[in-house]
């Protein structure tokens, strides 16, 4: 009987089985940021502990960093306080900190892969639920809370239960104008926001195999929105080619050994899974959320679903969503007027995302009533985009070109919705109040669809703009 990647990586990283029955799991890469780490360091100090493996933790600042100017001190005193805390913590405990001056600052889940820190067969933990992103490289990567950040700092380990594994195969191919974002929104729509609780999702099939690394990151990123704490894609030559030459990648002389080990971590052809779900790439349309969780998604050609179409345990949330979003059942989602367009986040803030959005931005201008932001995922993404002139494309079309950070995905910095504004967003959550206004509304979609919505001032089918049908 073959083993899945999850089982192999779990076994190689098991320090011991704990008396409770949980696994003491070694964490190969620990990433921290300014929001969920200060209390962990406080506990380390109060309890007189040390950081066990300071060279296996890396830090950056992303959630609270302003995107208009990064001049210190920040205008927001609380944000400045958080920044000072992480600076002090990294200095005192000998942790490498990728701050704005490093040239490597960015969203933690853009940074790890980009620097070659994330590698196949590793365990990765971070105090952020979108840590599942790193699974795109064949890592077992998951989000943790602050007490667990303390545990990793103190011991480089976690006490944790092994998840079940569900393989999700997306077969065939995607149509034009359909992106990785549409694939994961479609998966969550089909399997539900709680379908993945207790599971790791292994994504495969021809669609995933053909995807570039950044696309795989988009898919894995939103695993948690389907309830799965982690998601991964088996490492393959696409993965190995992506890692080669990055700052923290194995050196050229050891690369063959690395590739051999990485290859061995992939699921065996006869691996056993708890269950297997098969989806057809051809069934996936450009997808837009209409409600208050990422599973409330429909194809751009569809109408807001009727209450009767939901399972009994989803109907109440749907009723809540109609009211909050002010969208009636039966209304076409296309044509929904937007006020704000946000392109960025750990889901869709990478170079390929900006390239796809720029293709659309070249076709028109942002409507006067729309505020449109492009926030690159990292300083490296910003530099690469600027080298290609993408920033000029966006600016010429009326988008604001900002500095890297999480920005309006969760609005812990000054980038926030106001009042009942509706935002077409390439981010990952459409929860109530998520984008900074307690009554603000979010429509999740691909970066190309966001750019199209910015130009039309309303939700449109990007394929129409691109002349793809």
């Amino acid at each position: 009987m073959g083993k899945s990647l999850l089982d192999k990586v779990w076994d190689t990283h098991t320090v011991r089985e704990l008396p409770s029955g949980q696994t003491q799991l070694f964490i190969g890469l620990h990433l921290i940021h300014e929001v969920t780490s200060p209390q962990a360091f406080q506990m380390i100090r109060e309890q007189g502990l040390q950081v066990a493996f300071p060279d296996r933790t890396f830090a950056t600042v992303d959630h609270i960093i302003p995107t208009d100017t990064q001049q210190r001190p920040y205008g927001d005193a609380q944000a400045e306080g958080m920044m000072r805390a992480i600076e002090r913590n990294c200095r005192e405990f000998g942790i490498r900190f990728f701050d704005a001056a490093s040239g490597h600052q960015g969203i933690v889940h853009v940074l790890g892969p980009e620097l070659g820190l994330t590698q196949p067969g590793m365990t990765v933990a971070c105090g952020d639920s979108h840590t599942s992103t790193h699974g795109a490289l064949g890592a077992v990567a998951f989000g943790i809370g602050t007490s667990q950040v303390r545990d990793v700092l103190a011991s480089q380990c976690l006490a944790i239960q092994r998840p079940k594994v569900r393989r999700i195969s997306v077969d065939g191919s995607l149509g034009a104008g359909v992106y990785a974002k549409d694939v994961i929104l479609h998966i969550i729509r089909r399997l539900g926001v709680k379908g993945g609780v207790g599971f790791a999702y292994e994504y495969g099939g021809a669609v995933l195999e053909r995807m570039a690394m950044e696309e795989r990151m988009t898919v894995c990123n939103m695993s948690i929105e389907g309830g799965a704490r982690l998601g991964y894609v088996n490492p393959d030559p696409t993965t190995f080619a992506y890692i080669r030459g990055r700052d923290f990648a194995p050196s050229a002389e050891h690369l063959d050994a690395a590739v051999a080990w990485w290859s061995g971590t992939a699921s065996d052809p006869d691996a056993t899974y708890h269950d297997v779900v098969r989806l057809e790439g051809a069934d996936i349309a450009p997808t837009v959320t209409w409600g208050i969780n990422p599973g409330q998604a429909i194809g751009v050609d569809e109408r807001v679903p009727a209450p009767e179409s939901f399972a009994p345990d989803e109907r109440e949330v749907a009723e809540d969503a109609y009211g909050y979003m002010d969208l009636k059942p039966g209304t076409p989602i296309r044509g929904t007027r937007i006020d704000v367009a946000f392109i960025g986040s750990c889901t869709n803030g990478r170079l390929s995302d900006l390239r796809e959005a720029a293709k659309v931005a070249r076709l028109g201008r942002v409507r006067p009533h729309v505020k449109a932001l492009v926030v690159p995922g990292s300083q490296a993404v910003a530099q690469a985009a600027e080298a290609e002139g993408l920033h000029e494309v966006f600016k010429a079309a009326g988008f604001e070109w900002r500095l890297p950070g999480c920005s309006m995905c969760l609005a812990m910095n000054p980038d926030k919705l106001v009042g009942r504004q509706v935002c077409a967003s390439s981010s990952n959550r459409n929860f109530k109040g998520r984008q900074g206004s307690p009554s603000g509304r979010t429509l999740l979609m691909s970066p190309a669809m966001v750019a199209a919505a910015a130009i039309e001032g309303a939700v449109v089918d990007v394929r129409d703009l691109l002349g793809q049908r």
Partner: protein, 208 residues
């Protein structure tokens, strides 16, 4: 964390928090996480569901006089409670508001783990039992709800409901090892050995 605190029973007045898929952004909006400590998080629990833009109460269940009580509280919730963001600020806010344990149909994985690390049991019961318990609480909120991790029951107003908890977590709570730090640190040599066996830790340089 220095002493072992064994959690065998939790009793308190119940607070019903109806709804599936209640996410941690709702439990604590991100703007209240701009702090370097968890102190004061209790006042922001469910803030936007409780208060309008002017800070006036919207009549949320947490502010409903019928459910007002002193002492420890136990939340009764539905499915996939605590989904979304990994923010420990969410259970910290509930804890500091007074909640010591939760009974529900199901919990999101990260939220569940965060609660364990704080010694807050999240026990599951069947949909029918949770709905019955909620109805009982709403009809007569004045009784104490008791979660017993030895008998694996939640008892309210004389009626016992069967609850469950993954075996490892139940043991952790009963034995007082839910705060895992010391336990994890005890295996230092084995941790170093595990690290030494992983080729990426040494950059794939051949072992001597």
């Amino acid at each position: 964390m220095s002493e072992l605190i064994k959690i065998t029973r939790v009793s308190g007045r119940p607070i019903p928090l109806r709804g599936n898929d209640i996410d941690t952004d709702r439990i604590i909006p991100a703007r209240y996480m701009k702090a370097v400590t968890f102190e004061g998080m209790g006042q922001y629990a469910f803030y936007d569901a409780r208060f309008d833009a002017d800070g006036h109460s919207k009549g949320h269940v947490l502010d409903d006089p019928r459910f007002e009580a002193k002492g420890p509280r136990i939340a009764v919730v539905n499915k996939n409670f605590g989904c979304g963001s990994s923010r420990e600020h969410a259970p910290q806010a509930l804890l500091r508001w007074g909640i010591r344990a939760l009974v529900g149909e199901s919990f999101a994985d990260i939220f569940f783990g965060n609660c364990v690390a704080l010694g807050m049991p999240c026990v599951s019961a069947s949909e029918a039992d949770v709905l019955a318990l909620m109805a009982a609480v709403e009809a007569a909120p004045q009784h104490e709800l008791t979660i017993d991790l030895q008998t694996m029951t939640a008892t309210y107003d004389g009626k016992a409901y069967a609850v469950s908890l993954p075996g490892g977590v139940r043991t952790q709570l009963l034995e007082g090892t839910w705060d895992a730090t010391r336990i994890l640190m005890q295996a230092e040599t084995q941790v170093r050995d595990t690290a030494a066996r992983l080729p990426y830790v040494s950059g794939f340089r051949p072992r001597r």
